[in-house]
Symmetry: C2
Subunit: 221 residues, 2 copies
């Protein structure tokens, strides 16, 4: 059984490791969790002892298969709660993340299965992120960064890489939303900014930073 703090570390490490693939450094964890590297050293030793990561000093950490399954359980809860907040409590997609950070730690297998059922077994959360099923199976969808779309091609907005409210409010402002059709009019060599059209609207400028946090599925036209 993991504490709330341990769950947060594990989830963060899982994300940084790209689903268990990459090795993760102490500093990267400290950065993501907004804590000090010294605290991370302590915690990863503990998580290693609990078997959810494997760690050798100065070598960074890897998530074990038990760790992956535990992380996916937390992520499943986080994303199901986000769906609930948006679909039933009229939250905007930029208001859900903070609350879901708390709700994801509620311990009750019955609760989460009933919530999943209540929501109709949703496949993605309000940010387009896939929701692991009760077995921990998560299916990725083919999606690339908007910034990697070639000029003149078109895509559908499938997900966002940043669930912070400032980014999402910016998307609201420019009229971008999940499911929107987006056409890359052209791309500026110098700063990698884009000019795009959303749903055949007027031309908008999009910075490299924004473009890298919008995930699209290319439309084969």
């Amino acid at each position: 059984m993991l504490s709330l703090v341990e769950e947060n570390y594990l989830k963060t490490i899982y994300h940084l490791s790209d689903g268990g693939g990459q090795q993760v450094s102490t500093n990267a964890i400290a950065d993501a969790i907004k804590t000090k590297p010294a605290s991370v050293s302590d915690m990863i030793r503990k998580l290693d002892r609990k078997g959810v990561i494997s760690y050798t000093k100065y070598q960074g950490v890897n998530v074990t298969s038990e760790g992956i399954s535990a992380a996916l359980k937390v992520i499943r809860k986080h994303r199901l709660w986000e769906v609930f907040l948006v679909q039933h409590l009229k939250f905007n997609w930029d208001e859900v993340h903070e609350v879901a950070e708390q709700l994801e730690h509620i311990k009750s297998p019955l609760l989460i299965e009933r919530l999943d059922e209540f929501l109709g077994h949703p496949k993605v959360d309000p940010h387009g992120d896939p929701i692991p099923d009760s077995q921990g199976v998560i299916k990725a969808r083919p999606q690339i960064k908007l910034g990697d779309l070639s000029p003149k091609s078109e895509g559908l907005i499938m997900a966002v890489n940043d669930s912070g409210s400032s980014f999402l409010q910016h998307l609201d402002k420019i009229g971008a939303y999940l499911g929107a059709r987006i056409l890359v009019v052209d791309k500026e060599e110098f700063d990698s900014s884009l000019r795009v059209k959303i749903d055949d609207g007027e031309i908008l400028f999009i910075s490299k930073e924004v473009a890298s946090n919008i995930l699209v599925e290319e439309l084969t036209s």
Copy 2:
């Protein structure tokens, strides 16, 4: 701002004080929270410093008006979540208390107001306990213990005094539920047990312990 543990202490003290009325002793708190009196001594000094209770050594504690309002906020959340679990996630009334003990600590004013709205501003929880409104106003309903009902009189089951699953499962077994009509056939002098009829069903025996945890509104027949 109170920690999760402080919220639990305050809520317990509020309940033991009967809504802020009575003074509460260290041992009573320790008993209710299943902790040691030494721990309670530490905590009540802290809660006093935070202004939610007033405490003088060896004198027990009283809940302040700030304390009452903070306790009612936690209780409101607890009871709203219980309604959600029963009405929307198909939980039985004996399954909700443990989960609500966790959910009551989620911090988000928006969440709780939206949940209240989603639920249609319910007035009581699945155990018949009144839900404070967003201003912290809680209106008690006239109800007495089943054990205090005189023989031959009839009442409606309005609430239960014990939300533990074993008690509630017992009620399920004998067919007692909120809203049921209950007739006291007669009362045994010796052990204060009752013989009752629920909704004109067959005669049942009810012990003093059970009778004191069932709250009824007397029917003026």
